[in-house]
Symmetry: C2
Subunit: 282 residues, 2 copies
């Protein structure tokens, strides 16, 4: 059992880390760091947090584990303050959905002081946000991608992976750059495509929304995600996302070309190939 | 009650029309026309059909209602034979997912002989196909778009609409061209985008499929649809689909431009607008 766990940012993910850690008796004391402590009073009342502060320095002091759970770009800014205030031997991880930026920042800080950092990306979430949506079982059965670099010590990867497993998650590892390409193509690009599909209805035939069936609704469900959260994510992973968008346009170009050329056989081959790929994902 | 109902094509939709008509006692005799009658013996055994033939002429003879339920482009070819063999006063409709082509063909035939034709598009289906997937309740609660032209007699629209209502469907009407634009943007374009997303994974980062979560799976679920069916549909609605694809690309261009320009405020506005549009569709 950890003596003190500090969580920076008490929204959906940070709040769920607190609740899950409490439920699994992972830490004796759980400290929340929030910009506006009044907004997370519910976490004190329900026992997920023991203490809340808006001061990063005092919040992370003497914590054996610090979890960064602010929005992605904010985590990059917060890491420097956490690094300076953390106790010797502390482990630091985060729950952001892009990893290369924070890994680079940690690499720079590691040259100044050796602390144990490795990124984490729990692939769990919902269209909701905020502490009100936090759940103790959010990570149960979920996949968490842990993202060591060449310089990350194996003991750090092991310790952080075990913590995720103790709250019910499965753990996989990827280097941060590969991780960002992976989430660009399986998460951020589908989001962008869903947003563009909804926007295209307005441009092309606005009245068509009344006729949207299950196919359209499934395909665009993620476009109802929190705009502020997604704006952050899209910008944080901009380079990988724009590169994945080029691959998407090339795939779309090919399909349009086959339709214009009237090449039914080749179009069907492509549809069969994609159907098989998609079915293998069930 | 109709004396004789003839259904051309006994797959998912044609088979469901037979089962639903039988369950609602819509017709005394239900005749199936199938290219290979041996493949629909199950429909005779379970009582959905009274008789099966591979001959369109004898199959539609004396039928008061003929439902074309072959693939879309096949329906256009079959309509001429149905028109020649149908009895005076017969009503003809179809269940295809694009409507302008068949409406044009019916318009030409109407000049040679006045029969009552109006297109129907039941917005019900599944990823499955074939008679084995047919269900008596497939149309219950589903929307059926009936597509009269300027020359369609109101009594024909009324009669066909009432038949759909008797098997539990809600009916809306659109002219065939507007219908095809609507389904292009809410059904065929999302399909094309889903196919391109799955294909983009293979091009960009093949190993990423192992990390596809609920968002990716929802967004691309329709890409597992039957390839032969979709190849037909995409070609049958090619012009409207390619036009809707231009609108989609314009929407995607805008999003990429906002990201490249680093215009977070404008990107967030767009995400908020799309979220509101999408939420209004629930």
């Amino acid at each position: 059992m950890i003596e003190r766990l500090a969580i920076v940012g008490i929204g959906l993910l940070g709040g769920s880390v607190a609740k899950a850690a409490r439920a699994a008796s992972l830490a004796r004391e759980i400290v929340g760091i929030a910009r506006d402590p009044r907004r997370v009073e519910a976490a004190l009342r329900d026992g997920a947090l023991d203490r809340v502060t808006d001061d990063v320095g005092s919040g992370v002091r003497d914590a054996e584990l610090v979890v960064l759970a602010a929005p992605v770009l904010a985590n990059e800014r917060l890491l420097e303050r956490v690094w300076a205030a953390a106790t010797d031997g502390a482990l630091i991880t985060d729950v952001g959905s892009t990893k290369a930026g924070l890994a680079r920042a940690a690499g720079r800080l590691h040259a100044t002081r050796r602390l144990g950092f490795v990124g984490s990306h729990p692939m769990a979430g919902s269209e909701q946000s905020g502490y009100g949506a936090a759940r103790a079982d959010l990570f149960r059965g979920a996949l968490v991608i842990v993202t060591p670099t060449e310089t990350t010590e194996p003991r750090v990867v092991k310790a952080v992976s075990e913590l995720w497993e103790r709250v019910g998650a499965r753990v996989a590892t990827l280097d941060p750059d590969t991780h960002d390409r992976v989430v660009a193509i399986v998460s951020h690009l589908p989001h962008l495509a869903a947003v563009a599909l909804v926007d295209a209805v307005r441009r092309f035939e606005p009245g068509a929304t009344a006729f949207a069936g299950r196919g359209f609704k499934d395909t665009t469900r993620i476009a109802a995600g929190d705009a502020a959260v997604w704006e952050e994510i899209l910008f944080a992973n901009r380079d990988a996302l724009l590169a994945s968008c080029d691959a998407f346009r090339a795939a779309l170009d090919d399909l349009e070309h086959l339709m214009r050329a009237g090449d039914a056989a080749a179009l069907r081959d492509r549809l069969v190939q994609v159907k098989q790929t998609r079915e293998a994902m069930r």
